[in-house]
Subunit: 309 residues, 2 copies
C-alpha cells in the first residue's frame, strides 16, 4: 500500500514538473496555441436527404465529423456508408426525442423497458421537456447502451457520442448516465462547458483525464439564419480562438423529402440545412479556414489519442 | 332441429327462385352486367413521395382506393390525411416484409411476440420466402390485429385489408388468419380467385356471403414496364370485362427520396411509380374509363353494402 502511494506521488510530481498537464492541442499533437475546430454535422440517419448531403459535405467540403441517429428510418443507408468508409468520423447522435410533425421514430429498446421515453403511439416525445417529465435516468442509460449496441450490430464503430436536442445533457442524472456509458465503451462524449451553468454542476468532478470538455461552441440561431448564414459563419470562423471549438451544423438538401419532414418549422428546416450544406461545401469556407490558421480536427483523434490512451 | 332445416330450405329456395344469389354489380347497386373497377394504389405510408403522389392521384386523377403500410416511417403523414379526408377510400396494406436495401421497418407488435417475423436487426425479412420459412400463423394473426389496432389509434377507419407483396396470402394458414381477422373487425379483405390455384384451396369454403372474391386482377409486370406503361394500361382498360376488376398500381414521384428507397431495383422502382402516377392522373385515362363504360368503385362501397350489411 505504502509503495503504491509513493509511486503515485513520484508520478504526480513528475507530471507537474515536466508540464504534463497538457493542453488539448498538445495532447493531440498540435502546436500549443493552435486553433482547433471540429466541424460537426448532426442528424445523420434521419433521412436520405440528410445522409447524402452530409456525405458530400464530408467528402468534398470542410465537414470533419458527423453523428448518426440510430433509431431513425435511414440508419441502414448511413451504416452501409460507415462500413464502406471506415475512415469517416462518425459518432452517435444519442436520440431521445422525435421532434417533427408527420415523421416519427421511437426507442431501439423494447418499449416495456423504457416506458418513460415513449408517448401513447410508441414514439419518442417531441420535446426535451416531456423527456424531463417522464423519463428516469435508468431508462435513459438503457436506451443509450442499446443505441451503441445497435450501432455495433450495424457495423458502425462510433468515434464519439453526442446529444440530439441536448436531451441526454438536460439533467444531471441523465448526464451522469451518458458519461458512464461513454466510459464503459471507451468512447469520448461531447461535454460543453456551458452545462455547468445550465445544470449547476462541476464537470471536472464527473470526468477523468480521458475526457475532453469543449470550451467554445458555435451554432447558428434562428436570428442568424434570418440574417444570412454565410455572413454568420464567416464572422464566427474569423473569430475562432486558440483551443477547441465545436461548430454544430445540419447538412441536408432543401428537397421534397426534407421540406416534408421539417414542415411547419423554419428553424433547423430544409432551407437552413441547404444553406449549411452550401457554406461548408464551398471553396470559400475551405480558404477561410486556411487563411485563419485553423486546424479542422476529428473526434477519432480525441478517441485514439486521449480517451483510449 | 327439424324446424331449422325446413326454414333453411324455404329460405334457400326463396333466394334462388327470386334471383337472390346476386352478382356483385347488383349487390352494389350497379347494372347487372356493369364493368366495375377498383383502381388501387398500394404502399401508402412508405415515403413522403408515395403519400403525396397517391393523394394527388386520388384527388385529381382516377385512383379510387389505396392502402396504407402501418409499420412504415411516413404513417403519421398519411394518417393525418385520413383524419382530415374521411371520405378517402383508405385500407391497410398488411405488411410482413421490408423489401428495400437501405430503408427498413419492422413489426408493430413487440418483437418478443412475433420472433418469426423479424431478422437479426429487428426488421421484417426482405422476402416472402423468409416469412414462409420462419413465421407461424399465430404470429401473422397477431401482427395483422396489431396493424389494425394501430390504424384505429391513428384515427384511420380502414375500408379494406390487402396484402403487401402477397405475404399474408402466401400460405393457407396465413390466409385463414387474415380472413378471420377481417371477419372479426368486419372489414372486407382482398381475395383474388387465383389463390385457389396457387395454394390449392377452395376460397368458397373459407368465406361467407359478406366476402367478395376478385375474379380479375390487373397489374403491370416488369415486361409491361419495359414496353411502356401507357400502352399497357390503355389496352387493359379497353379489355375490361363485366364483373369486378382490381387494378393494382403504385403511385409515387421519381424523386431523390424514391430513387434512394428503390435503389438497385428497377421493377416497382421510382420511374415505374412515376409512370403509374402520370397515367392515372391523366385526362386520357379518365376519358378512356368513360368511353369504355367502366364504373370506378371503392372498397367502402363493398364494406358498407356487402360486408357490413
Amino acid at each position: 500500500m505504502k509503495r503504491g502511494i509513493i509511486i503515485f506521488l513520484i508520478s504526480f510530481c513528475w507530471c507537474v514538473t515536466n508540464g504534463q498537464v497538457k493542453s488539448i492541442q498538445e495532447k493531440l499533437g498540435y502546436p500549443k496555441n493552435a486553433k482547433l475546430v471540429i466541424i460537426h454535422a448532426d442528424d445523420l440517419g434521419v433521412s436520405h436527404s440528410e445522409n447524402s448531403a452530409s456525405i458530400a459535405a464530408m467528402e468534398k467540403g470542410s465537414v470533419s465529423s458527423a453523428s448518426i441517429m440510430i433509431p431513425c428510418p435511414w440508419l441502414s443507408e448511413i451504416a452501409a456508408y460507415a462500413q464502406s468508409k471506415t475512415r469517416a468520423d462518425l459518432g452517435l447522435h444519442i436520440t431521445l426525442t422525435s421532434e417533427w410533425k408527420y415523421y416519427k421514430w421511437g426507442p431501439v429498446s423494447p418499449q416495456a423497458k423504457v416506458p418513460g421515453l415513449v408517448n401513447k403511439n410508441g414514439f419518442f416525445y417531441s420535446s426535451v421537456d416531456s423527456v424531463l417529465q417522464y423519463a428516469t435516468a435508468a431508462e435513459v442509460e438503457e436506451e443509450i447502451r442499446n443505441q451503441i449496441k445497435r450501432a455495433f450490430q450495424f457495423g458502425i464503430q462510433p468515434t464519439h457520442l453526442d446529444a440530439h436536442m441536448g436531451a441526454v445533457l438536460s439533467r444531471p442524472d441523465f448526464l451522469k448516465a451518458y458519461i458512464k456509458v461513454g466510459h464503459d465503451f471507451r468512447i469520448p462524449v461531447f461535454l460543453p462547458r456551458q452545462l455547468e451553468t445550465a445544470l449547476k454542476i462541476k464537470l471536472d468532478s464527473m470526468i477523468t483525464d480521458k475526457d475532453v470538455i469543449v470550451e467554445h461552441i458555435l451554432g447558428a440561431s434562428p436570428e442568424d439564419f434570418k440574417r444570412g448564414m454565410k455572413n454568420f459563419y464567416t464572422k464566427e470562423i474569423k473569430n475562432i480562438k486558440p483551443g477547441l471549438t465545436y461548430l454544430i451544423i445540419h447538412t441536408a438538401y432543401d428537397d421534397a423529402e426534407m421540406k416534408a419532414i421539417t414542415i411547419d418549422h423554419d428553424a433547423w428546416g430544409a432551407a437552413w440545412r441547404q444553406q449549411d450544406f452550401n457554406f461548408f461545401s464551398s471553396i470559400e469556407c475551405a480558404k477561410l479556414l486556411k487563411q485563419n490558421n485553423i486546424y479542422v480536427i476529428t473526434w477519432k483523434e480525441i478517441r485514439d489519442k486521449i480517451t483510449r490512451q
